[in-house]
């Protein structure tokens, strides 16, 4: 592997670290009486908000429609996801240092699978909270569910909800893009060297 490519792959591994610095996903809600808005931030290892009390305020509002309380403790994902990220960071770095060209594509592929699994989990999670409502809730609107948008915006009663990937997700995207780039660049270089080898043979 070319040194530059090794460095690029190392950068890919390190960029996953963004997941510990920024939320993966952000859900913004706004209502007439919440002009300042409320934000929920989903991290790889925690759930927080724009303020220390955002989660409490989400739960206060959600209890009217009978939504289950959102508590970081109830998400097992938050305990094991950081290890998965560490795993990818570590293996990415090892592949880069060892120059193990053939492992680049499997690494990227696995990372993409893990990312997709994460998104699927997030989607199920939204679905579960949005539909699993207490039948004794104070506010029941027949047929109404409260699944927040997976990505994009949606009106939920008086709340306008907007859901977007956070800067943490850029870490994954960057890792995938860089990993793929290293893979293709390496393949081309290899192809070129084979071709030149063939040329010498012919000569």
């Amino acid at each position: 592997m070319k040194t530059l490519h090794k460095l690029l792959l190392l950068a890919a591994a390190i960029s996953l670290g963004l997941l510990f610095l920024f939320p993966m996903w952000k859900i913004y809600v706004q209502a007439p009486q919440y002009p300042e808005g409320l934000q929920m931030h989903i991290w790889v290892n925690k759930i927080s908000g724009s303020t220390d009390y955002s989660l409490q305020n989400f739960n206060i509002l959600n209890h009217y429609i009978g939504m289950e309380k959102i508590q970081p403790d109830s998400f097992q994902e938050l305990t094991y996801m950081p290890y998965i990220v560490f795993f990818f960071m570590l293996t990415g770095a090892l592949i880069a240092l060892a120059g193990a060209r053939r492992l680049v594509l499997p690494w990227v592929f696995l990372l993409m699978v893990a990312g997709a699994a994460g998104l699927a989990d997030f989607y199920m999670w939204l679905h579960k909270f949005g539909t699993n409502l207490d039948p004794h809730a104070p506010i029941i609107i027949p047929g109404m569910t409260y699944i927040p948008p997976f990505i994009g915006s949606k009106q939920l009663l008086n709340f306008h909800a907007l859901s977007l990937p956070g800067p943490g997700s850029i870490g994954i995207a960057l890792a995938v893009v860089l990993g793929l780039a290293v893979f293709f660049l390496e393949r081309r270089r290899k192809g070129a060297s084979i071709k030149s080898a063939e040329k010498t043979l012919v000569l």
Partner: protein, 670 residues
């Protein structure tokens, strides 16, 4: 000024005395009419100047004294919209101030619980001669007290009683860096340094009656007040005060009346001398004398009540000593400067050179010069003394007189552009004059009988000279009538141009005597949105629903309750008997802006609670009748606010119902 208000006869007399001034009034009336014409032409213009579009904020906060309401009201300027009423010396059932177990102590005094007062003068805290938006100091005129309001929370943080004072009118005046807040007595009373009771007759006024000027030290960081020392002064009435600025920073000036020292029928007795005095005290020197131990320690008995920021509980401390300075033992401490009789306002211009004394019975406004004062002291150009305090020669200190200003000048503020503005109580107008030559340049009628006026920062070294607010004592026909009692009226006047322009009338609460105004940007960014539940260290706070409980201790029942949208926990309570003392310690668990919860019980002979997010408040209730008693949230907090209610079962005396409590049919869960 209320003295004059009561002196209607006197005012009539004054009109006769001021016949000479009537000539001037002609020109005054003419120009007043001209002004009215200009004002009506400017109506459309005025509307745009005071229009603050929905959702937009005002440029300034104005803090107005509530007078006999004992409160401070907060208005947005230029809109004149009322933003808040802050209870200070008066109980306020609306939020339980002075009724809750936490706040009762704020109103303790050496006379017992005094749940009202007559609040006259708000003064903003200062840094380097400018308002800093940290605190507001206000006085209680009736039962001598000084309060400090915290402008982060817009709550009364501290109330201190002033001993050896009777009628704390001449108060509170902060120095340029808040070193001291100074409070002078209105009524002189017998004070003896041994602090013993003496059987004094009214006829002994001249010998035995004394005034006091209190120097309250203010902690630079916390704002906490502490009575450092008092200066015992001649037995006059002390009316208003103001501190110097720039060159005169070390001095504070007080207007006095009743220098005749009459003890009865003061409207005549106190108006005999042609001149009363402006008292000048070098506060820096006073502080130095006090530090150097020139003071006499005197027994005293006064209350100091403070609100703890973390527990929101007020506690009272009784203080039993005060240090006294005697001017006759402290050379250079105090001088008396003659001024036309019965002066009211003393105002020092932004440069610190001119001391303007508004004598409500005077036909001129004398402007004294600080530099002349120093020269006069240096040359010992004295015309006598009062108990060893030198009286300076009027003519030597005088810089000039504003001639024919109008009738009943009361109070002056400045625009920072070389102009002074004086309120005229009797002729109901505001008069603008130049500090350069003491010539009147403009006048505008006000409706009616203006007392104080305020220009934002108009008493600082750099006024914000865009607006003036006149605070009127009489309203008459200005608004829709509301029976015999009418709202007092404030009038917003544009002073940005050559001519003053009337912009807006707005009603005020109680009787605003004085007000202060400050740029919104000095306060708004620091405004607290809610209290941190985590930092709430109230001993009876309940921070989780699972910790709520009911406990009996003898005939006391303590309910540890929580409130959150939209339920109270617990909401079914039993085991309470008629005649029990039931204490509801209610914690608002919310951590969001603008979500207070109220708490009220049917038939409570007390008040209700209004609990801010994160805070704990305690309501005492002594049930009088057996039965099921509802309780509920009084502040429309949420869509299910009406459902935020519960019941207490009250058993007859002697019936032993075990204490039990629940929410949703079960014991409160985590």
């Amino acid at each position: 000024m209320e003295t004059l208000y009561k002196k209607v006869n006197k005012a009539a007399l004054l009109l006769a005395v001021a016949a000479g001034a009537a000539l001037q009034s002609c020109s005054g009336i003419e120009s007043s009419q001209a002004n009215t014409a200009v004002a009506s032409q400017a109506d459309a213009d005025a509307a745009t100047k005071v229009y603050v579009a929905p959702g937009k904020h005002d440029e300034l906060y104005s803090f107005m004294s509530g007078g006999f309401s004992g409160q401070v009201s907060v208005y947005g300027i230029p809109s004149g919209r009322q933003l808040k009423v802050i209870p200070v010396f008066s109980q306020n059932p609306e939020n339980g101030y002075g009724y809750t177990e936490e706040s009762k102590a704020m109103l303790n005094t050496s006379f017992g619980f005094v749940p009202w007062d007559d609040l006259h003068h708000p003064k903003l805290s200062r840094t380097d001669g400018m308002t800093d938006g940290r605190w507001l100091f206000v006085n209680a005129n009736n039962t001598p007290r000084v309060a400090r309001l915290d402008l982060k929370t817009f709550e009364t943080a501290e109330i201190m009683e002033i001993p050896n004072s009777a009628g704390n009118h001449c108060s509170p005046y902060p120095t340029n860096d808040n070193e001291y807040v100074i409070a002078g007595t209105r009524f002189s009373v017998p004070i003896n340094v041994e602090g013993k009771y003496e059987d004094v007759n009214f006829s002994e006024y001249k010998d035995k009656f004394k005034g006091s000027i209190s120097f309250v030290k203010v902690d630079k960081k916390t704002g906490d007040m502490d009575l450092d020392f008092q200066v015992l002064v001649p037995g006059f009435d002390y009316d208003l005060a103001n501190g110097g600025k720039g060159p005169s920073s070390d001095w504070v000036f007080f207007t006095t009346y009743n220098t005749e020292q009459a003890s009865t029928l003061k409207e005549i007795g106190a108006s005999q001398n042609d001149k009363d005095f402006l008292a000048a005290i070098n506060w820096k020197l006073a502080a130095k004398y006090a530090r150097e131990g020139k003071t006499h320690e005197m027994p005293a008995y006064y209350y100091h009540n403070k609100l703890d920021e973390k527990t929101h509980i007020a506690t009272s401390e009784i203080k039993k000593k005060v240090r006294i300075l005697l001017p006759e033992e402290c050379p250079g401490l105090m001088y008396l400067i003659p001024v036309p009789k019965s002066p009211h306002g003393i105002d020092v211009d932004p440069s610190g050179e001119f001391m303007i004394v508004s004598g409500k019975l005077a036909s001129i406004i004398p402007v004294h010069s600080f530099s002349n004062m120093l020269k006069t002291i240096e040359k010992k150009d004295f015309i006598g003394d009062v108990g060893g305090i030198p009286i300076l020669r009027y003519e030597s200190v005088l810089a000039g007189e504003v001639k024919e200003p109008g009738l009943g000048p009361l109070h002056t503020e400045f625009d920072g552009k070389g102009n002074a503005y004086t309120s005229m109580f009797v002729s109901s107008e505001v008069v603008k004059w130049k500090l350069k030559d003491f010539k009147v340049v403009d006048r505008i009628p006000v409706y009616y009988s203006v007392g104080h006026l305020v220009i934002p920062g108009g008493d600082t070294k750099k006024p914000y000279g865009k607006y003036l607010i006149a605070m009127n004592k009489i309203t008459k026909d200005r608004y829709l009538p509301t029976g015999p009692e009418l709202a007092h009226s404030a009038q917003l006047i544009d002073i940005s141009g050559e001519k003053m322009k009337l912009l807006l009338d707005f009603p005020t609460i109680g009787e605003p005597h004085y007000a202060q105004a400050i740029e919104a940007g000095k306060i708004a960014p620091n405004s607290v949105k809610f209290y941190s539940l985590e930092e709430n260290s109230h001993p009876q706070a309940t921070k989780k629903e699972s910790d709520t409980r009911v406990e009996r201790k003898g005939n006391q029942v303590h309910v540890y309750m929580t409130a959150i949208r939209s339920h109270l926990t617990p909401d079914n309570i039993e085991g309470v008997n008629v005649g029990d003392e039931v204490y509801f310690h209610v914690t608002n668990l919310e951590q969001d802006w603008d979500v207070p919860h109220g708490f009220a019980i049917m038939g409570n002979n007390n008040a209700e609670l209004l609990i801010m997010p994160g805070a704990t408040q305690t309501l005492k209730w002594v049930p009088q009748k057996a039965g099921i008693v509802p309780m509920y949230c009084t502040d429309f907090c949420s869509a299910l606010h009406q459902e935020m209610q519960g019941y207490i079962k009250v058993s007859p005396k002697g019936v032993k119902t075990p204490v039990a409590f629940s929410t949703g049919g079960k014991k409160p869960a985590a």
